[in-house]
Symmetry: C2
C-alpha cells in the first residue's frame, strides 16, 4: 500500500508550491518584495526547485518553517570531502558549540557517506585541525556567535541567521543556542544536486527566531517507566524540531521514578525497581542542555501521589498502609496538607531535587485532587475550621502556597496544572492549561504566565492536523497585547498509560513536529496540506536519532504473526488507527502489566496510507466531471488501486486471523474493509461515468455504517472517506 500511494507525492508537488508560497507570505519581507526583485514566478522564486530539478523535492522540508527565507538562483554550495567547519576564533572554550559542530559533521557524513578529511571543526583562521592541512578554498561553514546562551534563562535569545553562498555558508547568532537551531535548519535543508552528482545547499538566506519561548514535550515516566535511552533519543528529536523544554513527569500514583537519597523509601518502595538514579538524571540534564533543552521535573502533589505514600504513609490523609496502584485512573489517595511534617519533608526533598535540576522552574502538579479523604478525615476538617479554610479548593490553595514558598527559598519558581490557579497564589508562578484554553485566558487576565497543553494531548491519538490548528493565541484571543506576552508557549503531553518504551516514539512522532512548528513559526504558517507534506520528509530524517516509530511498526506486525508473512496484515493495519480519546482506558481492564503489543499498539494515529487516501479522495471529488471521467488521471488510478487491494485483502488475511488468536479482534475490520472497498469501487465508477442510475442499496449503506465501528480499540480510518465517495452528488 505504501508503494501504491507513494507516487502520490508527485501529484501534490504543484499544490505544495502554492503552499510553500505561504512561507514567503509569512516572512517579514513578504512574497511581493521577493517577486518584484528578481524572480518572475513561484517556480523561479523557489530557485532550488525549477522544473528541471523537480527530483530534488526534499529541499523544501523545513520544519518548523523559519521566520524568513529567501533563495537565489546562484550555483548551490556543493558538499565534498574537503568541507570543513570554522568556529569562532579563539573561542575554543565553548565546548557546547564544539560538540554540536562535531555532531553536525557526523550526521552530515552519515547521510551522504562522505569521508570528510576534517573530522573536527577548526577555530578561526589561524588554527588547523589536527589530522590534515586543508585547502583554503575548500567549502566552509563559518560559525559566528556572540556568547554562550543560558539555556535556563526564559526568553534567552534563540535567533540565528544563515547566508548560503556558492563558496561558503555563514551561520551567525547572538548565542550558541541560535547556532544549535541553525545547524538543525541546515541539516533539514541538505539537498541533492543531480546535475553535479553532489550533495548541496541552495544559496539564499534565512533569518529565524521563535514565536514562543517555551516549546515543550512532557514525557510521563511514571505510568510506564521510560529508560534513559528512550529519553535521550527523544531529546535529540526535540532539538531537531527546535523544541526547548523537556517536562519530565517523574511521579504519579503508579510509580515514583527518581532516586532520593534523603528519602530512599520513595524510589525503593514506590517504583517496583524502575527509577532513574541521580547520576542518570544529571546525565540527561547535561545531555539536554548540550542541545539547548531545559529539563523541568514534575513532582505531582498533593493528588496523584500514591507512590510517595507507599514508603511514607505518614504523609497521607488516610491512615494507610498504601500499595502501588497497578490500575489507571486517579487514586483516592492524597497528601494531608494540614500536617507540618509534610512541609518539612518537602523542604528536604525539594532541596535535594533542586540541586539536580538547574532550571529555575519546578512543576508541582496539582491536578485532579480527589477530596474524599480530606472530607473523611476529622483532623483535616478540624484544621480547616480552625484556620478558616472554607473548602477543599481553598485547602489546596493553602498547600500550593506553602509549596511555592518552599520553592522560592530554593530560588525556584512553581509551575502547576490549571487547578492551582487561585487569587492567593504568588504572581510569579506559571499555570499549565490542560482543561481548556479558558484557564490560560483567565491566568493571563489575572497576570499569571501560562503554558498551553490543552489541544496538545498526543496520547489521545488525534491527528497532527488537530494539534497543528490549535493556536495558543488565535487572532481573536481575548487578551491584551501585554497579557498575550504572559502566554509563554505550549507543551505536547505524552501520558504513558498506553505506551511502552517500544511504542512511545510512535505516539510522540511525527505529530509532535507539527506542534513544534505551531510554537516556533509565525502564526500564519498554518497550511495543513503543506505541513503533512513536510512532515513526511522530516519524519524519515528524525529516524537518524534512533527513533523507532517507523521501524517498530513492521516489527510489531511480525510479532503478531510470529514471523510469518506480514503483507496482508500490513495492508489492513496501514489503514487502522487507534480509537482516539479516552475510550481505551475504559476497556479490557488495563493495568500496568497489560501487554501493549496488540494491533492497536502497532496502529498509528494519522495512519499514513489512510491520510494519503483521504487526499486522493479530496482531489478526486474536487476535480471537474471531465477530469473525473479521465481514467488516466493519477487520483482515479490510485484510488482504484487502493480499493482493489483492500477488496482482495481479507481473503489473504483470513488465514492469519484464524491461526493467530491475537488477531481475532480485528477480523470484523478486515471483513469491513473488503466490503467497503467494493462499495467504494462502485462509487468511483458512478462518479467517473456520471451514471445516475447507479444507486446504493440499504445493505450497502449498512455496511458503510458498520465499517465505522471500532474493533480491538481500532477503527478503519478510510471508511469515512469511502462513504464520502458514495454521498457525492452527480450534477
Amino acid at each position: 500500500m505504501i508503494a501504491c500511494c507513494r507516487s502520490l507525492r508527485h501529484s501534490f508537488l504543484f499544490a505544495s508550491f502554492i503552499a510553500c508560497g505561504r512561507l514567503f507570505f509569512a516572512s517579514e519581507r513578504g512574497l511581493q518584495e521577493i517577486l518584484s526583485s528578481e524572480a518572475s514566478s513561484i517556480q523561479d522564486l523557489l530557485g532550488i526547485l525549477p522544473r528541471k530539478r523537480q527530483g530534488s523535492n526534499m529541499t523544501l522540508a523545513l520544519m518548523p518553517i523559519p521566520w524568513q527565507v529567501s533563495f537565489t538562483k546562484d550555483d548551490p554550495f556543493l558538499l565534498d570531502t574537503d568541507f570543513y567547519i570554522e568556529l569562532p576564533e579563539n573561542d575554543n572554550s565553548d565546548e557546547r558549540l564544539l560538540r554540536a559542530a562535531k555532531r553536525f559533521l557526523r550526521r552530515l557524513s552519515g547521510r551522504t557517506g562522505l569521508f570528510f578529511e576534517s573530522n573536527s571543526p577548526a577555530y578561526g583562521k589561524n588554527e588547523t585541525p589536527s589530522f590534515f592541512q586543508w585547502n583554503k578554498k575548500s567549502p566552509v561553514l563559518k560559525i559566528r556567535c556572540g556568547r554562550r546562551g543560558d539555556e535556563t534563562k526564559l526568553k534567552e535569545d534563540e535567533s540565528y541567521s544563515i547566508e548560503i553562498a556558492t563558496a561558503q555558508i555563514m551561520l551567525e547568532a547572538e548565542t550558541d543556542l541560535g547556532i544549535l537551531h541553525g545547524l538543525e535548519t541546515l541539516l533539514q535543508l541538505l539537498s541533492v544536486d543531480p546535475f553535479r552528482q553532489s550533495y548541496s545547499w541552495p544559496t539564499g538566506s534565512i533569518h529565524d527566531k521563535p514565536r514562543f519561548p517555551w516549546r515543550g514535550l512532557l514525557i510521563d515516566a511514571s505510568r510506564h517507566f521510560m529508560p534513559v535511552d528512550v529519553i535521550q533519543r527523544n531529546i535529540d528529536a526535540m532539538a531537531a524540531v527546535k523544541l526547548n523544554v523537556l517536562h519530565w513527569h517523574l511521579t504519579d500514583d503508579q510509580g515514583f521514578r527518581i532516586e532520593s537519597k534523603e528519602f530512599p523509601k520513595l524510589h525503593e518502595l514506590g517504583s517496583a525497581g524502575h527509577y532513574y538514579k541521580q547520576n542518570e538524571i544529571t546525565y540527561i540534564v547535561a545531555y539536554a542542555a548540550d542541545r539547548g533543552i531545559r529539563v523541568i521535573p514534575e513532582f505531582d502533589l498533593p493528588g496523584h501521589a500514591t507512590s510517595w505514600l507507599v514508603g511514607y504513609p505518614e504523609l497521607g490523609s488516610a491512615p494507610g498502609p498504601y500499595e502501588l496502584s497497578p490500575y489507571w485512573g486517579i487514586s483516592e489517595h492524597v497528601m494531608d496538607p494540614t500536617k507540618d511534617a509534610l512541609y518539612s519533608f518537602l523542604e528536604t526533598f525539594l532541596h535535594e531535587m533542586t540541586t539536580l535540576f538547574p532550571d529555575p522552574f519546578v512543576h508541582m502538579g496539582g491536578d485532579e485532587v480527589k477530596i474524599n479523604e480530606w472530607n473523611e478525615s476529622a483532623t483535616i476538617q478540624q484544621y480547616m475550621l480552625d484556620h478558616n479554610i472554607s473548602n477543599a479548593h481553598e485547602l489546596q490553595a493553602y498547600f500550593n502556597n506553602r509549596v511555592a514558598s518552599i520553592l522560592e527559598k530554593e530560588g525556584k519558581i512553581m509551575i502547576g496544572w490549571d487547578e492551582i490557579l487561585h487569587p492567593n497564589m504568588p504572581k510569579n508562578i506559571v499555570i499549565q492549561s490542560w482543561r481548556g484554553h479558558d484557564s490560560m485566558i483567565q491566568a493571563g487576565q489575572q497576570g499569571y504566565r501560562s503554558i498551553l497543553s490543552n489541544g496538545y494531548y498526543i496520547d489521545l491519538c488525534l491527528s497532527a492536523e488537530t494539534h497543528y490548528q490549535n493556536d495558543p493565541l488565535p487572532l481573536d484571543v481575548n487578551l491584551t497585547r501585554e497579557e498575550q506576552e504572559l502566554v509563554l508557549g505550549g507543551e505536547a503531553t505524552m501520558w504513558s498509560e498506553f505506551v511502552s518504551p517500544e511504542t512511545i516514539d510512535s505516539r510522540i512522532w511525527p505529530r509532535t513536529a507539527a506542534i513544534a512548528e505551531r510554537l516556533w513559526s509565525p502564526q500564519n504558517v498554518s497550511d495543513t496540506h503543506d505541513m503533512y507534506r513536510r512532515l513526511d520528509i522530516v519524519s524519515y530524517q528524525l529516524e537518524e536519532h534512533g527513533l523507532t516509530y517507523i521501524k517498530n511498526y513492521e516489527m510489531m506486525l511480525r510479532r503478531l504473526v510470529q514471523g510469518s508473512d506480514i503483507s496482508a496484515l500490513k495492508n489492513l493495519v496501514d489503514v487502522l488507527e487507534p480509537v482516539p480519546g479516552y475510550e481505551r482506558g475504559q476497556q479490557l481492564g488495563y493495568t500496568t502489566f497489560s501487554p501493549l503489543t496488540r494491533v492497536v499498539d502497532a496502529a498509528r494515529p494519522d495512519a499514513p496510507v489512510a491520510r494519503r487516501f483521504r487526499f486522493l479522495v479530496e482531489e478526486f471529488l474536487q476535480s471537474s466531471p471531465t477530469d473525473r471521467a479521465d481514467t488516466n488521471r493519477s487520483a482515479y488510478v490510485e484510488i482504484v488501486e487502493c480499493l482493489s487491494l483492500w477488496r482482495d485483502n481479507h481473503g489473504k488475511l483470513s488465514t492469519s486471523i484464524e491461526r493467530f488468536p491475537i488477531l481475532q479482534e480485528v477480523q470484523q475490520l478486515s471483513v469491513d474493509l473488503a466490503d467497503v472497498a467494493v462499495i467504494g469501487l462502485k462509487a468511483v465508477e458512478r462518479l467517473r461515468s456520471m451514471n445516475k442510475r447507479i444507486h446504493f442499496s440499504n445493505a450497502e449503506r449498512r455496511s458503510l455504517n458498520r465499517a465505522r465501528k471500532a474493533h480491538g480499540q481500532t477503527f478503519l480510518a478510510v471508511a469515512y472517506d469511502i462513504r464520502l465517495l458514495t454521498l457525492e452528488k452527480i450534477p
Copy 2:
C-alpha cells in the same frame, strides 16, 4: 523479494522433517528407540506437526537444539489468561528466579496479547498472588530448583528438564541457571493450536544440558563505543540462545572505555568522552548475572595499548607523547615491560577493576604485540641483556608472568590470546585461540585450558554455515579425552572497526545463534539446512529484545534515498553481501570518524533472499529432468520470479542511483544483476526444455564473471548461483 521467496518455507517443510530427525539421532535415547515405541513415521513421531496442523510450523524452532526431546500425541497445554507460574515453595529469597519468571510472563503476554490475571508468580501452594485468587485448576507452570546457581563458577550445573502435560508444565533444574535456560526453551516452543484458537505448548519432555561450559560473545567497545543499551539488548539475546559469557573488550589503541578512579587520565584522555562509568559497569554485570551470564573484562596489554599511554606516557616503550589513534590496524606503541612502575600501576589498576567484575577470570589480551619500540629502546635492550631475556617473545612472556601473578594476588585467573602461550606461564591460565585451531591443540597438549575463537570471527561477514560447521572438537581432533576436557568452549568475536551502535546487531545476529548451537548442542546436530530453517524463526523472536538487525535494514535504505521509495534499492541490497574477510579495512582510508551508513553497512552477511535463492537453485538442480520440465513446480516458478524481478530492477533503480551520490558505488552491481538475471532466465529455460542447442556466448560468460566482482565493498551474492545454473550439464 522477501514476499516472493517467503512461500519457499513450505517447500522446505519436508526437508525440515528429515532434518529434524537429527534432533532425535542426537538425543541420548535416539530415534530408533522412539520409533519403536509408539510413533510409526517421522510425521507421527513429531506429533506436534501432523499433516493437518502444518500451519503451526513455528513449533520446531528450538535453537540451540536440546540434548533430548520427545513429544507425545496428547492434547496440548493451552495458554489462557488464568495461566500462572508457581515457584518453589518458601523460596521467595531467590530474587533472580522471581525476576526471571516475571520477565517470562511479560514476554508471553507480549507475544500473545493475553491479559494474565496473575502478573506475579506465586510461591508453592499456600500463597496467592496479590491481585486475584486463581482457580486451582488453572494452567500452571511449576518450577522446581535445588539452589541458586553460582554463575561465576565455571562448569556450574546448567541442566534442566521440562515435562509438558495437558494440564501442567513442570520445569526442574538443579540450579536456577538451568531454570533460566528452560524458560527460554519454553518461549521458543510456544505454539499455536489453530483448532482450539489458542496459544499452546505441545506435550512431551525435554532433557537438556550444554556440551561446553564456556559459550561466549566478545563485544569490542573500544574501536566504536557501544552504549549501555546496546550491551543490554545483546545480553538479553545471548540469554535467549543460552550463551553464558560476555567478553567485554574494553581497551585498545582507539579507546579506553572504562572509568578508573585510581587513574582518571585513562578514561579522561583515552576515550574522547565515550566510556562506561563504574556504576554502569556494575549495572551491566548485575544485569548479565540476572540472566546467568558471566562478564569477563579484557584489558589488552602490552600492545593495543595506545589509549593507556595518552594519559600515562611514562608506561610506554617510546618517549611519547601519544595521541589516540583514529586509524584501524595495530599501533606501534607498546608498554615497557622492563619498568617496575608499570607493574605497580597495574597492581593498583587491576585491584580497582577486579572489584567491579566478580568473575574469577580476567582477560589481559596479549595479541599482536609489535616489537619495534622494544628493539629501538636502548634501556629495554639493556634490561633484556641483564636479565637473560633472549628475544621479544620471551620479554612478553616475562611481562605476562608478572601480570598473571598480580592477578593471582587478587584471586583472579588470567586469560590471553594465543600469543601468550609459553612454557613458563602458570598452568591455570586460559588460552583463547584466534589464529587457528592449532594453538588450541597445543594448549591442550601442554595442559592449558582453552577457548576457541578461530572460526567464530563474526566481524568477517562470513556465512552462519561457516561458523556452524566449525566444531571446537571434531571427531578426529588430536587430543586425548583428558586434554579435550581442557577445551572449555568458544566465543564469537564482534570486533568493532566497521560497526556502529546502529549496525552492530546485524553483524552479531542472527549468525551468533548458530554458534550458540554449536557450543551447546550435541556434536552431531550439524544439518545446515535445518539450522537455517530454525534460524529464520528464532531470528524474529530475538527482535523482542529490541535488537535492531531486522528493523534497521530498511531504515538504512530509507536514509540512502532520503526517504523516497526504497523498493528498487531493496531488491538490489537484498542480494548484496559485504565483502567477507579483512579487505574492507584496506580500502577508502577508514578512520574512527568514517560513516558506517553506506550500502555495505545496510547489506548483511547471509543475505536472506540470496540464501533462499541458493536453496532454490540447489533444489532445482537436484531434481530430475522430468521435474525440471514441470513449470508448475515451486522451485522453477520462484527462480523465474526472482530472476524476472532482478532483470527489470535496474530500470527502476537507476533514477535513484543518478540522484543520490551515495548510491553511485553500487551502480555497476545493479547493472550486473540485471545482466546475469537475463542469463539466468536463459539457463533455467535451457534446463527446463533440455534444449542442448542453447549455448552461452563469450559475452555472457564475461558478464557472469564480471558480476562476481565487488563494488562499494559489497558483492552480488546470487551471481555464483546463477553461474551454477549455466554450468549444469544436460544429460
